[in-house]
Every structure is written in C-alpha cells, then in structure tokens.
Amino acid sequence: MTATLDPPSAFGADIRGEVAISVRDLYKHFPIREGALQRVAGNIRAVDGVSFDIRRGETVGLVGESGCGKTTLGRCVSGLIDPTRGGVYFDLAARDQERLDSILAVPEPDRTEEMQRQLEQLDSDHRVDRLGKQKWLRYRRNCQVVFQDAFASLNPRHHVREIVGRPLKVHKEAFSAQLTERVVELLERVGMGRQHLYRYPHQFSGGQQQRLSIARALALDPELIVLDEPTSALDVSVQAQILNLLNELQQELHLTYLFITHDLSVIRHMADRVVVMYLGKVSEAGSTGDIFDDARHPYTHALLRASPDVDDDPGTAMVTLEGSVPDPALPPQGCRFHTRCPVATPACGWEVDDVVRWLEDEPGMFDALTDVTRRNAFTADLIFSDESSAAALATALGSEKMPLAARQALVDMKLEPTRVHIAFQPVSPVELTVRGPGHVAACVLDRMPELD
C-alpha cells in the first residue's frame, strides 16, 4: 500500500468550510502475539489508511459493522490511542492545511529536507499524538467524547457534581460555589437540574446517565464531540430524546460532531456527511443524500437494504450478504469487499486466499491440503496429499462452485498429480475515486448495476 494521498480522496477536502479536524492517512494496527514466545505473528489492521476532514459545525457520521474499525478510528480522533502511522490534525489554518496536503502527496522517500522539516513542525503543532502538555490540554478542551455505555463511563463512586464539574476543576475554570453553579447550568442545559447534584450514577435511568455524560462533555465548551454509539444502548423513545437534545445543543453551541454508529436510520437522521467503513478502510463517503439515495459502493447498498426503515415498504426484500467478514489480519487483496460482493468483477482482487477460504468449507478437501507455496498473493501452488482432492479442486475452479468473476480472473491453472498451480490476475488496492462533489467510493464499477 502506498502512502500517496490523492487530495480529493481526502474526503471532504474539495468542499469549502473551516476544517475542525483532519484525519490523514491513518493506520492503527494491533499486533497479534502467538506461540510460546509471544512473538508478533501479524497485525490486526483495525484502521488501514483512512483520510477525511470534519468541518466546523457539521455532523460526520461514521458507519460500519462491528470490527470495521470505526470505534478504533473514533478513539484515535479522541486522542485515547495513538495511531500506528499517519495522524489526526487539529487547528490547522487553511494555509497549513494546504501545505500539509502538498507534503503528504509526495511519497515519503521523495520528500525534500525542507518538506520533512515543515512536516515535523506541523506535526508537533497540530498532530494530536505529538502534542506537548499545554497543547494537549488545549486539544482536550476542544475535543470531548460521549461513550456508548453511559453508565460505564461514569465513575460509580462520584456523584453528579464531581462528575460534571471535574473538567472544570482539571482546567482550573471554577471552584466550590462557582463550580456548583456551572454544574447546575450544564445540568439544566441537558434537561436535568439542581436536585440531581448529589446523586450517584446508578440512581439514574439509562437516558439520564447519557445526559450526564453529555453535560460533562459540554463542560469545557468544546468544538468537537466524538459520539461513540451514544444511543445504541437506549430504547427508541429515550433515543429520540437524546437525539433531539444533541441536535438542539448543536444548533445552540455550534458543535461539530463525529457520530459513530452502526444504525443507519440514526445516521441518516443526524449526519450531514457519512463515511462508510469496511475492514479498516473507507469504502464510500459523501453527503447523507449521496449515501442514502445514490450509493456507489455495493457494500453501502447491502447495508442499506439489510437495515429496515419504518418508512419503507415492508414488502421489499432485505438483501443479504453471503459469507462473513474476513480476518482483519489478512484483509483481501484489491477491494476488501470482493469476497462477499454480489456484483464482483474479475478486476476486484481475486487471490489465492479466496481459494483457501473456499476450501475450508469443503468437506475433506481442506484436510487433504498439505501446503500452499505462494509466489505472491495472486500466484501459488496448492499441494494436496491425494490426487483426487487436487483434481476436485481443479474441476471446482472451472465450475459454478466458484464465482464467475473469480473464474474469469483466473489467468492460469495447471493440474499436476497432487499439485494445483493457480494464478489470478494481479490487482492493486482499489482506491477511493470521485463520484460527484464530495462523494467518493472505492469500487471498480462506475455505477451500481441493478440487483435482482
């Protein structure tokens, strides 16, 4: 994977408006340790090269299924974890922004010393994981988080005044009586009041707990709030209360939201722009209208048609996806979605692992597979312990058992007694391409073909 950054693919960069946060080429890998010595055997690529901007006053929705990396990305933006590569930039003036993008557009080895120096400077001033103490505290004032499980995010041994007033204390904004008044103000802002000051988190309902954690997030008058599934644990009627509250607050306080959720109906209701993630990468991004009415990625389509909306005709069939999400430590080549894609083409990145994955579900054959010698991800020899299995694979590779696209992508296949040589056409990763103003998608197809 190259580190090149085609400016338009930094989603949102071509729309005007003041930028609050820029995520640039962000990677977060978690090492997998294996064996008796606990050596690093691989990496879970939770976030694998993501770039986008969040503009002041807007709500960016981040959607995807569990394991797609949306929560990890959210934690990187909140500064709770440090990215493996790339970074989250805040407080960039338009000029700095341009400079940063122009430097990042040059592949690392080709950068001049001057560029390198400028980048260092930008990093130490604006990159969230490189900030000094003073700047870090400033970032903390500017970026707050509301967590999914409100109860878990409130210290059970602190009462409301301690919880909501704590940011003010830490940043030395208010003490004693003044603090109490500020806390009451904040509580009233989220629809609670003075009578709740000395109660403990467990004495509140789920909705009230979430209000408390919103009040805490508001205490420092931040610019950006990362909302990590803030209503997933709540009932619909309470969810509606919280969503309305978040909206009101945004209007009044000109807040910027990064709204992370798996619930598409919530995202459609709340977001101005939407980023769809699949297996650590952005598969599509655009304005809410683009995503919901003109989706250009088959995964977005699948998500939309799998999640029923109350206002939809109940007769429309729910489109379902085949298979399960591949292992994020060994993401598929080409387009990561090709293994489950209903409209996959030969150019989507068919590879040796697709054959191995297919074998795993074939009775007997996987046990007969003794070795796979790979030349690269697309070319390999599969060695079996008996001739019949090898022959069976060779037959299967030419039959209906394999997706048509995979068969078309298979450029070479030779059967030697117990060895099957296969070669798929090599494909580079599918990058995001522009589909319209501020609308990008990572799919080899220009248009979604009509399904069923």
Partner: protein, 308 residues
C-alpha cells in the same frame, strides 16, 4: 432568599457529599445486620477485640511482663473450675484463662501489624505493576510468582526459623509472606479497572495519570482488598498460632498457639483443658473474621452494589 447562595453553597456541597456517604455507610451496615452469619461474626469480633483492649481490666496483668504467663507453682495441672483458675492451669502452673484473655491482645497486635504492613506493601507494589505496566510489571509479577511458589506456612516457617524463635520474628515472617497476595489482587484490579470507560472519560477531560489513579482507579479497586484484609485478620492469627505451636515463639508467652502446644503433652493423661480453650479461641477468632469477610464479599460485590 436572604442568605447569599455563594456563602451557603460549600456547606451544602459538603453536607450533600457527606450525607450521601453516610447514607451509603448506613446501607452497608443495614445489610450487615440483615445477614445473621455476618452479624454473629461481627458480635464475636467486637467481643474478642473488647477482650483484647480491656484485658488489664479483666484480669490482673502479670508483672513485670504482662505478655508472659503467670506461674502458680502451687497449682499445677488443675482442672477447670478450680477456684482462682476458672479454666484450669497448665503443666507449668499457668492460668489458662489468663492465656485466653492476654492471648487475644497478642493476636490483635499480630494481626493489626501484619495486615496493615502487608496491605501497604501490596498496594504500592501492585499499583506500580498494574498502573505502569510494561517491563516493571513483568519483573514484579515474576517476583510475586516466585514468592507464591512456596506454600505460605512453609515459607513463613523457614523465615521464622532463620530469624530465630521469637514472636517478633513471627510477625516479620508473616509480613514477608502475606504482602504478595495483596500485590496480586491490586494489580489484577487495577488492570481491570483501568479498562473501564470512566477512566477513558477522565483521560479525555485531560486529567493527569496520577490523579486518575487516585480518583478513579484506586477507589474502585479497593473492595477486594478490604475483603481480603478482613479475612486475613483471621488467617494471620491462624498461621501465627500455628508457628508458635510448632515452637517458634518464646516459651511462656501468653499466646494461644503456645498454650495449645504446652497442653498437648498432657492430653494422654486426660488433661484436655489446657489445649482446648486456647485452640477454641484461635478458631473463634478466625471464624469471626471469615464470617464477616464472607459477608462483606457479598455485600460489596459490584454486581449487587450498583443496584442498591
């Protein structure tokens, strides 16, 4: 309102916070009283600690050293009920009742010193390992593992043997053995609590690591330590008495294990009392703290706590 709110607020805040804490304490005590076995344990503890504290009032202290058994050379091996020796006397003419009462004082001293010492050491080691993690954690935990690989009584026995037979050395030996448990408990708790979202929330606010540790991590990690410390108030006496039974305390000390050991010689001759009463005290002491510790474990269980 005539009174300026700004003047009143701190008092209200204080009263509010304290009131809540008092109420919580009240809830716990009510819970304790509702559970009959815990209540029995509590009564036993109060009784025995009372006995230890007021020992000089209950029975005349031996001079010059009240911790030594008095010797009544005119009354050797007297059975219980003998005038002046309600629980009988030992082979050396020691009054068993004196041993029972002053033994409580010895046991209280032993358990308080050992438990407070080990909790402090355990807290420091466990916190460092759990909160800082990394190499230090690895190193400290290997050390803990090494300490845990020797059964505790045998370890204490070996230490006490090296230091020489005296009650003070028993205290040292027990302290050297018991801190490991706390270090382990604290470390486990800290690592567990550290993963809670409220710790993330505190980091997002911008609070410092040390303050997060003191405000969020430690207070929420402490419950199992309280339970273990309560149980250990009993266990320490149990093992301490075992060591002195084996012979690692000074002969003639007014201590339950020593008395059981002395009385042991006489049982074949039917003199059962000299061992039975002091041994019973060890049992009751350990039982009481076990009952209360067990009750506390249920009451302070976070799974039930938050619901109340």
């Amino acid at each position: 309102m005539a009174v300026e709110p700004a003047v009143r607020e701190p008092a209200v805040a204080f009263a509010g916070g304290l009131g809540i804490r008092l109420r919580r304490f009240g809830e716990i005590s009510r819970e304790v009283l509702r559970n009959p076995t815990t209540l029995i344990g509590l009564i036993l503890i109060v009784g025995m600690i009372g006995m230890a504290v007021f020992a000089p009032l209950l029975i005349e202290p031996n001079t010059p050293n009240p911790n030594q058994m008095p010797r009544d050379w005119g009354a050797l091996n007297e059975p219980p009920g003998t005038p002046g020796h309600v629980l009988g006397t030992t082979q050396q003419g020691g009054d068993v009742l004196y041993g029972v009462i002053w033994g409580a004082r010895t046991s209280l001293r032993l358990s308080l010193i050992v438990v407070s010492l080990t909790v402090v050491i355990g807290l420091i080691v466990g916190s460092l390992a759990g909160f800082l993690g990394g190499r230090l954690d690895e190193l400290l935990m290997r050390l803990v593992d090494v300490f845990l690989s020797i059964p505790e009584l045998i370890f204490a026995l070996a230490i006490a043997a090296v230091l020489g037979p005296s009650f003070g050395n028993i205290i040292l030996a027990l302290a050297a053995v018991f801190w490991v448990k706390y270090a382990r408990i604290i470390r486990g708790q800290v690592i567990h609590i550290k993963q809670n979202e409220y710790v993330d929330a505190a980091r997002v606010i911008g609070d410092s690591g040390f303050r997060i540790y003191m405000k969020d991590v430690l207070p929420n990690s402490i419950t199992p330590v309280i339970v273990q410390a309560t149980l250990d108030m009993g266990n320490v006496v149990l093992i301490g008495a075992t060591l002195s039974f084996i012979g690692l305390a000074e002969a003639g000390l007014a201590e339950w294990g020593v008395l059981v050991s002395q009385g042991q010689a006489g049982i074949s001759a039917g003199r059962w009392w000299a061992s039975t009463f002091p041994g019973l005290m060890v049992f009751l002491w350990a039982l009481a703290f076990n009952l209360v510790g067990d009750g506390l474990r249920d009451i302070l269980d976070p799974r039930t706590e938050s619901r109340r």
